[in-house]
Symmetry: C2
Subunit: 215 residues, 2 copies
């Protein structure tokens, strides 16, 4: 998206795009595993992921050697190594701040849970915003944000607040110990070096399409 980023790489020297593709690879591997396939060649996996095979091989060798020449890669082993690497092998708690339209949708979005993320709590200035039967998480007041985050050792946050409030909220999050922020607010956030911000701007994404579609 995105690109669409302001992401700094702490864990250095591995291309951001490589990390991104790793996520795509696991999804393909998962499907293979479900179909009972034990071994896959770089050619086949790359095809499924929509990349060229040398790309896939280079991506993997940033992290070590996992294949067997003449044979290919062990599906299960590759899944294991990637999910360890991405930190998705154990559930990561995430908080969401800003329960407007988009925030509410993300709270009930099944795509996150399916991939090993749990939005454990939501925060908003208006706590009554929980009036939606599909949303199961509690909506807390902003006062409780900092203590909740540090108490529960939350490292990741999803930001869906209006642009004017985004910087202020991110400051609080960082002070409380958050080091990764997925930012949906159309704002360039200022954060310390050790914090990673992943900007997702859906309007820009559409605008971008518009350019390629033409007038």
């Amino acid at each position: 998206m995105a690109s669409k980023k302001n992401t700094k790489s702490q864990r250095a020297d591995i291309p951001r795009k490589t990390v991104y593709r790793l996520s795509i690879y696991t999804r393909c591997l998962q499907r293979l595993k479900e179909n009972g396939i034990k071994t896959v060649s770089s050619e086949a996996l790359a095809g499924a992921a929509g990349v060229k095979s040398p790309q896939l091989r280079k991506d993997l060798t940033y992290f070590g050697q996992f294949g067997t020449r003449g044979l290919g890669y062990d599906v299960e082993q590759l899944i294991k190594m990637i999910s360890d690497l991405l930190g998705t092998s154990h559930l990561q708690p995430v908080v969401l701040v800003g329960v407007g339209n988009l925030g509410r949708a993300l709270l009930s979005y099944k795509g996150f849970a399916k991939e090993g993320f749990g939005i454990v709590a939501a925060f908003d200035v208006v706590t009554e915003r929980q009036k939606d039967k599909r949303v199961t998480q509690s909506v807390y007041s902003m006062d409780e944000l900092k203590s909740f985050v540090s108490r529960n050792n939350v490292r990741m946050a999803i930001l869906c607040v209006p642009p004017q409030e985004a910087q202020e909220v991110v400051n609080e999050l960082v002070e409380a110990g958050v080091t990764g922020v997925m930012n949906f607010a159309p704002t360039v956030l200022q954060v310390p070096d050790e914090v990673t911000v992943n900007n997702v701007n859906l309007a820009i994404e559409l605008e971008n399409l518009s350019y390629f579609v033409g007038h």
Copy 2:
């Protein structure tokens, strides 16, 4: 986003990232205009957009020469040229397919309308899904998709259907004349060269963050 793409560039030789940054520049310019600022230097605008100034200047010169040496760029003129270029100077009709959690949120998402896009209609296998007071658009049955799109000359679509259905739906869209698709389904879509697909995968975006945050 994600970076995160499978987008082919029809209008060639201009970097995708440049087009993406153009969107960021307009947002900054808009703010300047609201504050009554008439002229801006590449240094100042780049700062606001979170890029280096030569980057900004290079981005702009792909499209022509818009600045005045010794002075800077005319705010209003730049806004005009970028929105003409991106095709956001006139309202672009967009259809949305798949009115699940995410689809519903996008239908009522104000971020799109604010930037000159109107989701004119939504489609789903279950048309009763319109039971949400915040959603103002009508939800039509999938049978009507093709005729609606071609009748109304819709060029852009937002895809929020389950992954198994994504390819089938995109085929219909393309047949009906859509040439730009914003795809939220975690599927690698197969489309003709003249069609642009912009993949947005929120789960991958989070997974990516997870890597930088660490275990």
